[in-house]
């Protein structure tokens, strides 16, 4: 579903901070100092992640609300629910029969009729990327968009399926 979700990673770090504090208290004076350092480090990182995820959630919610003024997002979510649209969770990508939606922190919609070329790419902005692989979309207006960023060593099976589906719909919509 195309929705804004808050990251829960900060909860794990806060639990870890409490765990280190508990360990320090149980172990006594010898280990308390070291455990306090771990506890504070986890607490600080947890709070930073919480603040960043909260900020991203608000930003994404606002962007989705703006995109949904004509009911586009509701229509796509209904399509995903009834099976007429595909949602690739690991790629954060939704594909309907007329457009694709990138569901990252900066969500956007691309219509298939605007696409000139689609392929998998290891090169981003002219530089070879040793870590990630992308679906590169060349638009008819000359712009280049990268979606579905995945680690190069663990490319999910959905990646190839998504490229195939985009190519199929794009050629049907007169994209290329």
């Amino acid at each position: 579903m195309i929705t804004a979700k808050k990251s829960k990673a900060w909860i794990v770090l806060i639990v870890l901070a409490v765990f280190f504090l508990f360990l320090g208290v149980v172990a006594g004076d010898d280990a308390l100092g070291v455990m306090m350092i771990f506890c504070i480090a986890c607490l600080v990182i947890g709070l930073i992640i919480m603040a960043v995820s909260s900020k991203n959630f608000k930003k994404k919610s606002a962007m989705l609300a703006q995109m949904n003024t004509d009911g586009t997002i509701d229509r796509i979510n209904n399509g995903i629910a009834n099976g007429s649209a595909a949602y690739y969770k690991s790629l954060k990508l939704a594909l309907t029969s007329t457009e694709l939606v990138e569901n990252s922190n900066n969500p956007f919609i691309i219509k298939y009729e605007d696409i000139a070329n689609v392929y998998r790419s290891n090169v981003r902005e002219g530089k070879y990327d040793y870590t990630y692989q992308y679906i590169r979309i060349d638009l008819k207006n000359g712009q280049t968009v990268y979606v579905a960023t995945v680690p190069r060593v663990r490319v999910p099976a959905e990646f190839g399926n998504a490229i195939g589906t985009i190519k199929k719909y794009t050629s049907a919509e007169g994209g290329f």
């Binding site: 070329n117 392929y119 998998r120 790419s121 290891n122 090169v123 070879y128 990327d129 040793y130 590169r136």
Partner: protein, 78 residues
């Protein structure tokens, strides 16, 4: 004592093979014969390197066509 170690990848281009149509991106680009190397570093200083793979790369999309050592040498020498 903290030891900072890691690895760094790099591509060494051996030869330009002229303009070809890439089967992945469909662009007319100059394909290159290259080897991808991985360097093991300690305190950001490369200690040793080993070849991860050798093959033909499209500079536009980065698609690799992996070659065997014999194929790589043959293309490099031609």
């Amino acid at each position: 004592m903290v030891i900072v170690y890691g690895s760094k990848n790099s591509i060494k281009i051996k030869k330009n093979l002229g303009v070809n149509v890439c089967p992945n991106c469909g662009m007319n680009t100059e394909k290159v014969l290259a080897a991808e190397k991985q360097q093991f570093t300690v305190f950001y200083i490369p200690i040793f390197s080993h070849t991860l793979r050798k093959g033909l790369i499209c500079p536009n999309c980065g698609m690799y066509k992996t070659l065997t050592n014999a194929e790589f040498k043959e293309i490099a020498n031609n």
